[in-house]
């Protein structure tokens, strides 16, 4: 039963991890302040929509996980496909996290990248398999604080070193004229402005802020519906300042060390820690970032093992066994995922930065998932076959555009969303409507326009409210 300000802090705290500092600084080094789009047009409008439209729905509909909602609203096949997609995504994200941790170790301590990867994998693998971190909540808070202090110190010291904002602009603009524009031209192969609007603002951002499990769960812990909505709404204010902590350091690194190229641009943040902070503080901040990165790997590893054990193995292979059996299966899967992540980590180099790597992996299934979730909540005529074929068509479109055509992940997200939306509507109209009994408590109109609630509203209106 938490007040709104705790909800806000929780949302922001979980939204800015070590990976975000490192990935966003690398992105800013590469693209300039266009990287801030992820925190502004790619977050704030969706947070407002989420607070006023989706949080009240989740609050009244009761607690659901998104896969559970999709399973009830459509059918088991949709739920299993979602679990497979999510499980595959988590497995690949592990590789990206490993790569980030490897870069951090390599840049700060000079250990070769392969040794860094193996060291990270060994540490994470051993303590995840033996039971995970104890007192996770407390260590997370300490890490967050040290990272925040480190981020502020880097920004202040960096700005002082380059001669303030005007010095920063003067040193970068001659060689990178677009680095202080939020929107990049349409011929930019990675983040053109139209892609930022269609793919990020219209699809990836609302998919995350309105329909992502981690975000929804934060708001459901509130003491009242107003606190849940306000928690989301007021989190948008500190969210607007995050670019100062994560984007500005990337620009400072570019000003101070313009020699990083290709995948090495993601070294911008650890390079700043090593070269700008005084020795004692640098070590502390490096340790906090390393611990936070490994903590992210640990929780992702646990999530991946849980999804594959519960939604795949238990559902299709061994349906009834002891808890100990499933625990051992989870441990074996964890070991397999660590090996997979070591193998996948170098693939991260193929993407223009670790931030784009994560977004690209998300874009393959976020568009179709958002489309069928949106129709499942908002349109009572959507049928189970519409949802199933919409999801399959959307993933087929995104895979074709991403792997075969090599389109920007932003356009992949947009067109797979549109494709899934169209297929879901067409197939739904061609198939038998779902009975009202199945839709109760699931469709927006039936949840929000409940007779009892309408009665309260009309009585208040009569009372001159």
């Amino acid at each position: 039963m938490l007040p709104w300000w705790v909800i806000s802090m929780s949302i922001i705290g979980t939204n800015i991890g070590a990976y975000d500092y490192m990935g966003a600084a690398g992105g800013a080094y590469r693209f300039g302040i266009a990287q801030a789009n992820y925190e502004w047009i790619g977050a704030i409008p969706a947070m407002v929509l989420s607070a006023l439209l989706f949080v009240p729905y989740y609050w009244k509909a009761g607690v659901y996980t998104v896969p559970e909602f999709l399973g009830r609203r459509y059918n088991l096949a949709v739920r299993v496909i979602e679990a497979l997609l999510w499980g595959a995504f988590l497995a690949c994200v592990l590789g990206v996290f490993f790569w980030a941790a490897g870069l951090m170790l390599n840049e700060y301590l000079g250990i070769p990248i392969w040794v860094s990867l193996l060291v990270t994998a060994t540490i994470v693998g051993v303590y995840t398999i033996t039971g995970g971190l104890a007192a996770v909540a407390m260590t997370d808070v300490v890490q967050l604080l040290v990272m925040f202090i480190g981020g502020v110190a880097l920004t202040v010291l960096g700005l002082w070193t380059v001669g303030g904002w005007s010095g920063l602009v003067a040193s970068i603009t001659p060689t990178h004229p677009n680095h202080f524009n939020l929107f990049l031209p349409l011929d930019d192969p990675v983040i053109p402005w139209l892609g930022m609007i269609l793919g990020l603002a219209f699809v990836l951002s609302p998919a995350w802020w309105c329909c992502h499990q981690a975000i929804i769960q934060r708001t459901l812990g509130a003491r009242s519906e107003w606190d849940a909505k306000a928690g989301m709404m007021f989190a948008a204010f500190p969210k607007m300042f995050i670019p100062v902590l994560v984007v500005l350091p990337g620009l400072l690194a570019l000003s101070l060390n313009p020699d990083l190229v290709g995948p090495d641009m993601d070294r911008a943040f650890p390079w700043l820690i090593r070269n700008l902070l005084p020795a004692g503080l640098a070590g502390l901040v490096f340790a906090a970032f390393m611990a936070a990165l490994i903590s992210s790997v640990d929780s992702t590893l646990n999530s991946a093992a849980t999804v594959w054990t519960r939604d795949i193995y238990q559902r299709f292979f061994v349906k009834t066994a002891s808890d100990r059996h499933y625990l051992n299966v989870g441990r074996i899967l964890t070991f397999v995922f660590v090996l997979w992540a070591i193998a996948f980590a170098p693939v991260t180099k193929q993407f223009p930065g670790i931030y784009v790597a994560m977004q690209s992996l998300l874009s393959i299934f976020q568009g179709p998932t958002f489309a069928i979730t949106l129709l499942g909540i908002g349109w009572r005529r959507a049928t189970q076959w519409g949802g199933l074929f919409g999801l399959l068509a959307g993933v087929a479109i995104s895979s074709a555009l991403f792997f075969a055509a090599g389109w920007s992940f932003l356009y992949v997200a947009w067109w797979s969303f549109v494709g899934a939306l169209v297929v879901t509507v067409v197939v739904s109209l061609l198939t038998r409507p779902e009975p009202t009994s199945k839709l109760e408590g699931l469709v927006y109109g039936l949840v929000m326009k409940d007779d009892e609630i309408q009665d309260v509203i009309s009585r208040r209106a009569e009372g001159g409210e």
């Binding site: 929509l49 031209p185 053109p192 204010f237």
Partner: protein, 57 residues
């Protein structure tokens, strides 16, 4: 995306973003929670700040 798109001027993006922000602000506005607890006001403030940011950069 098609080559025809690359001809679209960058200021179109600014206009679309401005309409997007103002659209959400108007939508929110037209939806003891009075005064500072009226979330519609804060939604409009957030969108106004976004509008100014995208105007500035």
């Amino acid at each position: 995306m098609g080559d025809w798109l690359t001809g679209l001027p960058l200021w179109w993006g600014k206009v679309i973003a401005a309409v997007f922000f103002l659209g959400i602000a108007v939508w929110a506005w037209r939806r003891d929670n009075r005064g500072w607890r009226d979330l519609r006001v804060w939604a409009s403030v957030l969108m106004a700040i976004q509008f100014l940011l995208y105007l500035a950069f």
